[in-house]
């Protein structure tokens, strides 16, 4: 059967730790948590108070940060992992999963987050990169999510052990165009490899610098082998619905919530639109009276965060 290739084989580099008849840290468990987040909204928060607002509005997880991307962009300084004290406060304040960001390649920051027991690590281009190589994510018991702009980038991250992918978009802009480009690119490429012969597919995997098995698996199931969320520029319920209609499994909202006029209302609106993405009447209602963040034109940006990472 075409669908029988087991990701556990493709991902055999993640072995997990066994004690008695219990195994932890397997790829199935890492990927499994992302499956549970599907059709949900993950919200950037910089304090315990914001985390509570997000949880009450129906967020499926929060991303603990020092600053939201819009502020990182405005200030232009080196952006790093958040203060562990703040992350711990946020973890204590909510019952939903807590994610946190590390710089690309900064495996020491990742080890610190793992020691804090955060639920997911985002190796993120929103922070200033620390290396031109990504972290070997198989070595961690905590799952990772990484950004991607095309299929090759997504599969390279999965091959390194990422258990969840998100579009990069262009964070902190409130402008959806880049996220749209990225999800369309990934979907078109997945569709295109369907028609390739074995030889062409082998050539494609060499070009993308990933094992053939991984490309084959993607071709067979006609989607990424892990959950794929949309991120980078979502500011309104309509933006969230657009990304879901384009095939995203769920939504990350960075600056879009706490840079809006009424964060709790905006958060609820985006949660409802993400669930009812195919029901414009409900989205219209959820969009009423929201004042979205102002947003930026992509052409006028000094830094394009999406170009970080390899």
């Amino acid at each position: 059967m075409a669908f029988s290739i087991n990701m556990d084989n493709v991902m055999s580099k993640t072995v997990g730790n066994a004690t008695g008849n219990e195994i932890t840290g397997t790829f199935r468990l890492k990927k499994g948590l992302a499956e549970m987040l599907k059709n949900g909204v993950i919200m950037d928060v910089v304090s315990a108070e914001q985390a509570k607002i997000a949880e009450n509005a129906g967020a499926v997880a929060v991303m603990a940060l020092e600053k939201v991307p819009a502020d990182i962009r405005k200030e232009g300084n080196v952006a790093r992992m958040a203060d562990p004290k703040k992350i711990k406060e946020i973890m204590k304040s909510v019952t939903i999963p807590v994610m946190a960001k590390v710089r690309i390649g900064h495996f020491a920051e990742a080890q610190i987050l793992e020691s804090l027991n955060v639920d997911y690590i985002d190796e993120s281009e929103v922070l200033t990169p620390a290396d031109n190589k990504h972290i070997d994510k198989h070595k961690f018991k905590i799952p990772f999510v990484c950004g991607a702009r095309d299929l090759g980038e997504a599969l390279r991250r999965i091959n390194e052990g990422a258990a969840m992918i998100r579009t990069k978009g262009e964070a902190g802009t409130g402008n959806i165009i880049e996220a749209v480009k990225h999800i369309n690119m990934i979907n078109e490429q997945i569709k295109r490899i369907k028609t390739l012969s074995k030889r062409e597919l082998e050539r494609e995997s060499l070009k993308m610098r990933v094992p053939y098995q991984l490309v084959e698996e993607t071709r067979n199931i006609q989607r990424l082998p892990v959950v794929n969320f949309a991120a980078g520029g979502v500011a309104t319920p309509a933006d969230a619905a657009l990304m879901m209609l384009l095939g995203a499994d769920g939504i990350f909202v960075g600056s879009g919530i706490f840079k809006s006029e009424n964060p709790a209302k905006t958060a609820k609106g985006i949660v409802e639109a993400t669930t009812h993405y195919d029901n414009p009447k409900i989205i219209a209602k959820a969009s009423e009276g929201l004042e979205a963040m102002k947003g930026l034109e992509i052409e006028k940006l000094e830094v394009k965060m999406q170009t970080r990472g390899f």
Binding site: N21, I23, M36, K38, N39, P97, N117, E272, T275
Partner: protein, 202 residues
Amino acid sequence: MINMLKIGVLAFQGDVREHIEMLKKIGAEPIKIKLAEHLNDVYGLIMPGGESTTIGFLMKKYKVDKAIKERHKQGMPIYGTCAGAILLSKEIIGSNQPKLGLADISIKRNDYGRQIDSFETELDIKGIGKSKGVFIRAPVIKNIYNGVEILSEYKNQPVMVRQNNILITTFHPELANETRVHKYFLNMAQEYRQIREMQKDL
């Protein structure tokens, strides 16, 4: 030929796709439930894994909770996994989040720990046998009342229980390629359809 049995999957949020794939595999017809009227012609309902606070909020907002309770009263079987189990519980220890409260159990969320403590193990299920148990930030059933039957235990705590037309697992058979639990539930739904059809004939 009997018509394919329509089974609803509560589709607000969570691992809806995996449950839908399971139902297709065992020959049932999955129906996504996001509004109350979607429940009209299903003979069973699966409440997937996900975030119970999110699903609870949306269920209440769109009055799907009321519709489910109504159908439960008529005898429609409901199967809850993980978040679904939490929402079905009478008591969620330490939380006043929205819930259905249909099964006589007390449950504690994330009681094995955080994601780092998520685990796979082997379970023994009554009437099914050995089965892989995938537990992800799973809740723990702390107490059961009024004739709730334990179908499987792990470390002396129930992980699969049944009370009349409600089936609960705190683990995810749908992530372990385990169809037998869904088949067990499908049998409950089949019995319910037979009863409904007999009632119609009268």
